[in-house]
């Protein structure tokens, strides 16, 4: 599993390549948190384009970031969700608290 973080217009884009389980969720949590504070971004965007597997450890990791960012007035978004991850988003009700978009451009145009 590989994580790439880039700052784009106030959004920290966290691009995950690989599988999200208990083992990798801990690393994603630490990296995303560190990069978020280093970058000075306002929001966090998880890019799922290269995630073919996620279990409930991913749910906890995303809700954890949602709560963390809420404290500082930031939001968490999800983009490029494929069919595998989609089922987990549906079952867990994640979609109700994490806005999901097809691309980063759609996140950027939110609320315009």
């Amino acid at each position: 599993m590989d994580i790439k973080c880039t700052e784009r217009n106030g959004n920290l884009v966290v691009r995950i390549v690989g599988e999200i389980d208990h083992h990798s969720a801990d690393r994603i949590r630490h990296t995303a948190e560190r990069e978020f504070y280093n970058s000075g971004a306002k929001n966090m965007v998880f890019d799922f384009a290269h995630v073919a597997f996620m279990d409930s450890s991913g749910i906890g990791m995303i809700i954890g970031r949602y709560k963390e960012l809420k404290k500082v007035g930031g939001k968490v978004y999800a983009i490029n969700i494929g069919p595998e991850v989609n089922r987990i988003f549906d079952i867990s009700g994640l979609r109700k608290i994490i806005p999901c978009y097809a691309s980063l451009d759609e996140v950027a145009s939110e609320g315009r």
Partner: protein
């Protein structure tokens, strides 16, 4: 009678979570599962194995083993995931959506719900101080 069977046993370390679910998925290819079926089984196995590691044993130890047994009966697949850890005091409560005994570890309490959603059967056998066995069942009809 089962028609095919395999058994795995590994140390309760998070590094082994991916190994366990991939091994089960590889074993089940003989039933020609769809991509969706294979993903569902992988996810359910990952949930049960992760639970054994983080809830069953809590602390790392050289004797902490998790076993995974797969049986194929016709088009049905049975997967048993067992630990010899602390056990579950209240199984009904544990199976409730959103219940977690470890909220401070960023657990969502959705593991059992995911297993139920993705499989056709889920049985939990547990005894305090002795361990937990999860029995998953799924019809693989391609």
């Amino acid at each position: 009678m089962f028609e095919n069977k395999m058994e795995l046993s590994f140390l309760a370390k998070s590094e082994n979570e991916a190994f366990a679910r991939v091994a089960v998925a590889a074993f089940m290819t003989q039933l020609n599962p769809t991509l969706a079926e294979a993903m569902e089984v992988k996810t359910a196995v990952s949930e049960a194995v992760t639970n054994a590691i983080i809830h069953g044993y809590e602390q790392m130890g050289p004797e902490n083993m998790v076993s995974v047994t797969c049986r194929l009966v016709g088009k049905e697949m049975f997967v048993e995931i067992a630990d010899h850890g602390r056990g579950i005091a209240d199984i009904d409560q544990a199976r409730e959506p959103l219940y977690t005994s470890k909220p401070e570890m960023e657990r969502s309490g959705m593991g059992f719900t995911v297993m139920e959603e993705f499989m056709d059967g889920l049985e939990v056998v547990s005894e305090l101080g002795r361990g937990t066995t999860i029995i998953l069942r799924k019809l693989i009809d391609g």
